[in-house]
Amino acid sequence: MSLRFSLFFLSTVLAFPTFSRAEISPGELLIAEMNCVACHEAAAPVRERLASRRAPHLGAEGVRATPQWLRAFLADLQSEKPGTLMPDTLHTLPAERKAEAIEALTHFLVSIQPQRQGAPHGANAAAMETGERLYQSAGCVQCHAPAELPPGRENTAAAWEEFERLKSASVPLGDLAKKFTVTELAAFLRDPLQSRPAGRMPGMKLAEREADAIAMWLLRGQSPGGPPRQMKGLQYEYYEKDLPELPEFDRLKPDATGVADTISLKPARRKDGFALRFTGALTAPTAGEYKFYLESDDGSRLFIDGKMVVENGGLHSKQTRDGTVHLEGGPHAIVVTYFDAAGERALAVSWKGPELSKQKIPASALSHDGEPMTPLGDAPFAVDEAKAARGANYFVSLQCARCHDGAVNAASPAAKPLAQLTARQPAGCIAASAKAGVPKFQFTDRQRAAIQAALSNQAALSVALDAEHEIRRTMTALNCYACHGRDRRGGAEGLRREYFTTAGEVDLGDEGRIPPSLTAVGAKLRPEWMHTVLAEGGAVRPYMAARMPQFGAGNVARLPALFETADARPEGLPQPDVFAPGAATDANKFGRKLVGIGGLSCIACHTFDGNKSLGVPALDLATAGQRLKWDWFRRYLLDPQSLRPGTRMPAFWPGGVAVNKSVLDGDAEKQIFAIWAYLARKNFTSLPDGLVQGRQELLVSNEAVIYRNFIDGGGPRAIGVGYPEKVNLAFDADEVRLALLWQGPFIDAARHWSGRGEGFEKPLGGNLAHSPPGAPFAVLDSQAAPWPSEVGAPAGYQFGGYRLDDKRRPTFLYSFHGVRVEDYPLGVPGEVDGSYRRTLTFCSEHPPANLYFRAAVDDKIDSQPGGAFLVGDKMKLTFPGAKPAVRRIGDKSELLVPVVFAGNEARIVEEIVW
């Protein structure tokens, strides 16, 4: 590994271009990164030019590292943290004295650190999975080593070879599992600048949950830990599913799991269509009667020790149900289930007990069993005051505080000023073997030579850098070049580039995943916006999985002005006054027209002021005025490829000629200015035409209406049919079965008839009734034979289309095992909503015996007077002329109708009222 590092660094040094006077030499970069001026005093112009890297804070603002890690680190810096820039100051001490010093420094450093926070985290596989995904996609692997090949890269020997090369050219993480708890590492990840002000490790704009997940994954070596223990909070499972009722949770695969402090809807990730189950322990303070209140919209249930205490299931608006149970003092198993179908949502759990007034169940009463994650080698550690005091002395005498400010004051200077370091041979701390009292760095000979070369040209060190070179220094030191190219330097390449992905499935090509080039960015972005991006977390590319890191306001404060200077275009046009009389009116009239449908349809691809585009989610246009300079915007619109090579943005004024001739007489300059003037306004009181897509309900009048598309509950090949009797159905052509019935309005086509038509549309009406899953017809050898599980083509079914009658009502045609079926549902008018009378006609050359139609499967099917069957509580089925029978299989009832052939034909009439 060491050889690779050194080769890596050497090769990069060698590749450095010829230096101009203002150019920064590799030696100078080393001097700045090593913070040489902390000991070797330098004049103000030199210090300013170097902008030396600041060392991490120790003490209250620092991180809390474990004593075992501190000890190991001080004993062998490069083993514990390969590549660290910290010099060894104990290298000439005799072994015994060195051990004593390390012990004393460890006690001292622990004594000034913040206290360990919180209880240990429980290992959570789902969180680790999330953590790994974030680590690979958010941008961490542009500096650090990835754990896996990039998504989509084939698993070949060549790929792994490249992967190994990439790993060896990454900033090592060291032995994190020894160093941190999950809580402490997560706190560091959320705000690395607090303890490491130099910004070399930037913040990644992580939410608390994300930082926890990454930390847990980075520390996965700590899991599994010891025996399960009681951990804070309840475990939850989260399911994204459109449900009519609380599901059988054990049959579903959760979309996410985690730990929640209290029972709430916080873990939900979308507004509608999800379910949650909380499990764990509830600690009752004393024995006695406890009353539980369950408030929810839609349904929920609460179980204590396996018994349902509160039933609040079903589809409903916010309502509270309660239940009482006697509890002994101490922990009891608690389960709370919840689902939301659509509309409003709510969940709250309260209790009242012998010594408790009615209140929400507090976090302190909830716990779960988990495997705690604790740092490797953790052992009880108490600070020994005497050792810590000796450690403080070492800290001063070893001059640690020269770099690590914020701990104790540094001793008086001992080293030669930088200007006097002009020896002809490497000496002092860059000598091949450092003497006692001199810090020992891990240099290669090439690095020594580079530093010496830089020191031999002292005059150059005090020349102020011009804007471009200061940009290069900053982009080098902060490794901006890992992701961004500028003037043919840097930018992600090779395998690393493949780790850039889009967030979700977004068809934007490389523009959707690769961070933008910074070539001439100062001529593109307004400095105010650059500041927002650099220091305030501003971002306009939600589709990009990589995040713009935050390097600390102080470390990047000069960049906006530097870019502005370096990229200045004297011939560029100034920002025009978009509020000038005339411009404002034109903006709203013509600019708006051009942006919208009927103009240039910019919104076909661009998000606009938070409103979804009609196609891909390209950059929100409404931010253009705040972000961009007019001069760039104009040049970009005239020739997109010239400023963003490879962009998918079409040229609407090819060769400077407007494609659209109808607005502003086809004058290109006037059109572009009108768009700018429109976009530069902050408040969009009138949105572009066509942006907001309304409902496109398919109305059914005197003929049936057919809609083949992705229908929720009907499959991707659903055939939706709306009947004039206000009943509707969806036939699943993939599974070859009538899948779904509903009443009232038919369907809204807006989802599929706008944009790209993504996703499944739900039936518009209500009172949904699902047909039994599986094949509708099967031969059963005996009354006890289970219904076959296969459906569609695997079950031998083939869809054959449909025939329309004079009212455009379909007769579905399909076949299975030599039996041809004609399936003809007819709407029957009702007082409000209608019902169905469905005729099934079977035809076969070789009629099978023991053929059945499975009309219903439910918990409960009751036979009623008059030959009807009540399925569940709401659906009534009648089969005139047939002899249906109910059988019980497992915990379900099945309603089977024998298909009896007369000659080659059989017929079943099914009346469905629900």
Partner: protein
């Protein structure tokens, strides 16, 4: 663990080789080009039925003046009188409620008047059995492939070929993978009604059809494994470039059917990051594209295509006219066969269509119908949908007519006699070559650029052709020419001076 020297990884990047994003200057200003083009090819816009969102869709002539238009909403509309000018078509709705019909065909000689519609999930035969003008029988002709509910999973159906077969190309599930059976595959429906898988390697088709010789092609769009949009021949058993669909050779649901059809996976899977012509040398099944449409110079979403076999559409008989959805343009393609491989050149032809061109179809009078939509994918034209007709005015533009590869260069022919002096001047030509990275990530920049030097120019005796001899040809490269200085005998410059030849094979004689 051994000691590591100081790591200053950040420096690595700044010293690393510069990124090779070379930007080309934008094409010369072509002010008023549309105006000029319209002197030779005139656009007529047909009115859509009142209140109907007539988004392309597919086109199919049912008679000389009777055109069926399917829509993304799922309708099939029939227009009578589409050839009148000004256009006054009479519209009737033949069918509705279908699932994004992107293929329409009628079987020649079919007495029942059935229309075959390729929907997302199946091919359906529609018939009007009671003669009221509306389809009432919708028979599933076949549904051998799967769909999952992902909008990318489009299916494009061809017309019937001379053998009576119909062909369907299936888009992947998105850009990268195949999540439902046979996504990324081509199917054949034989005249006898039998379905067979044909080959895979498809990414995202934009159109399917035949050239004048009756061979089958489709267009595929820039994206993973496609450095630029392309026109691609389809051959049974070939591998067309994108490995997404190869998984079905191993999946239990399709494995046996593919083996029974006599299909085998390619001898190796392509390696990402190389060059297609190099990979094609290693993988015999990998069939190189016939034409690249350099992105974005000649298109950003290549779509439907058609050819004129009558010669009544101007001087370009038997050439292909290819649509582009993003740029609202139609390009022109000349194909020749070298080493039994179709390759050739594409040229700009006509710009300024109203919407994103998707389907192209020639009418009986050799006018070209172009059917467009910009929903979900923006288009330069700006209109949400359009049905337009391109009519030759009878005046032939001065254009490059054909471009053939030669062992040492290229031969151009022209639609008019040329001025010998300008044609012999090497300064009249600019030429460069480049290719694309064959890679699993999206698209590719132009790479491996070369600038061949013109060694000699020979003007043909008939003054209608020019042989340009270059010092070196680059196999696997697009050879981009700009004949900026070549004048006609009457002193006119070319209407379009650009030509892009995709040279996978260099002829030996």
């Amino acid at each position: 663990m051994t000691k590591s020297p100081l790591l200053l990884s950040a420096f690595a990047v700044v010293f690393a080789a510069a990124n090779s994003i070379a930007s080309k200057p934008s094409p010369p200003a072509q002010a008023q080009l549309t105006e000029e083009e319209s002197q030779y090819y005139r656009l007529i816009t047909l009115p859509a039925p009142e209140g109907v969102t007539l988004e392309a869709g597919a086109l199919c002539f049912l008679g000389p003046d009777r055109l069926a238009c399917s829509t993304r909403h799922g309708d099939i509309w029939i227009a009578e009188g589409v050839l009148s000018d000004p256009p006054t078509p009479k519209w009737t709705q033949f069918a509705s409620g279908l699932h994004e019909v992107l293929g329409l065909a009628v079987r020649p000689g079919d007495k029942e008047g059935s229309i075959y519609a390729t929907q997302r999930g199946e091919v359906t035969r529609l018939r009007d059995t009671n003669g009221d003008g509306r389809a009432d029988l919708f028979e599933t002709v076949g549904d051998p492939w799967g769909i999952s509910g992902n909008y990318h999973e489009y299916a494009f159906g061809s017309k019937f070929d001379k053998a009576g077969d119909m062909w369907v190309v299936l888009c992947l599930t998105g850009s990268f993978t195949s999540e439902s059976p046979y996504r990324g595959w081509c199917f054949k429906l034989s005249a006898a009604g039998k379905w067979s898988p044909i080959c895979t390697g498809i990414r995202s088709p934009g159109g399917i059809g035949f050239n004048a010789a009756g061979d089958l092609f489709y267009t595929d769009n820039q994206g993973p494994w496609n450095g630029a949009c392309k026109l691609q021949q389809i051959r049974p058993g070939a591998f067309l470039g994108h490995p997404g669909g190869l998984k079905w050779f191993d999946e239990p649901v399709t494995k046996e059917a593919l083996a029974a059809a006599g299909l085998k996976p390619p001898s190796a899977e392509p390696e990402s990051g190389g060059r297609l012509y190099v990979e094609a040398g290693k993988i015999p099944e990998l069939l190189p594209p016939s034409i690249y449409f350099p992105y974005p110079k000649l298109g950003q979403s290549t779509s439907g295509f058609a050819f004129d076999c009558t010669g009544k559409f101007g001087p370009f008989k038997d050439q292909l006219f290819v649509g582009d959805q993003t740029q609202s343009i139609v390009s022109r393609v000349f194909l020749e066969k070298v080493n039994d491989h179709y390759q050739g050149a594409c040229f700009p032809f006509r710009q300024g269509f109203d919407s994103g061109c998707l389907a192209l179809e020639f009418a009986s009078d050799a006018s070209l119908f172009v059917y467009g939509t910009d929903r979900g994918w923006g288009a330069r034209g700006g209109k949400p949908f359009a049905l337009q007709r391109l009519v030759w005015t009878g005046r032939a533009p001065f254009e490059i007519h054909e471009m053939r590869s030669r062992p040492d260069g290229f031969e151009f022919t022209f639609t008019e006699p040329i001025d010998e002096a300008s044609a012999k001047d090497t300064a009249s030509y600019q030429v460069e070559t480049y290719t694309y990275i064959y890679q699993s990530t999206y698209g590719s920049p132009e790479v491996d650029r070369t600038e061949p030097v013109i060694k000699s120019i020979v003007v043909g005796a008939d003054k209608r052709s020019v042989r340009v001899v270059l010092d070196a040809l680059a196999q696997g490269h697009v050879h981009e020419f700009h004949l900026t200085g070549v004048k006609s005998a009457t002193g006119q410059p070319l209407l379009h001076d650009a030509a892009y030849y995709t040279l996978f094979y260099i002829p030996t004689k």
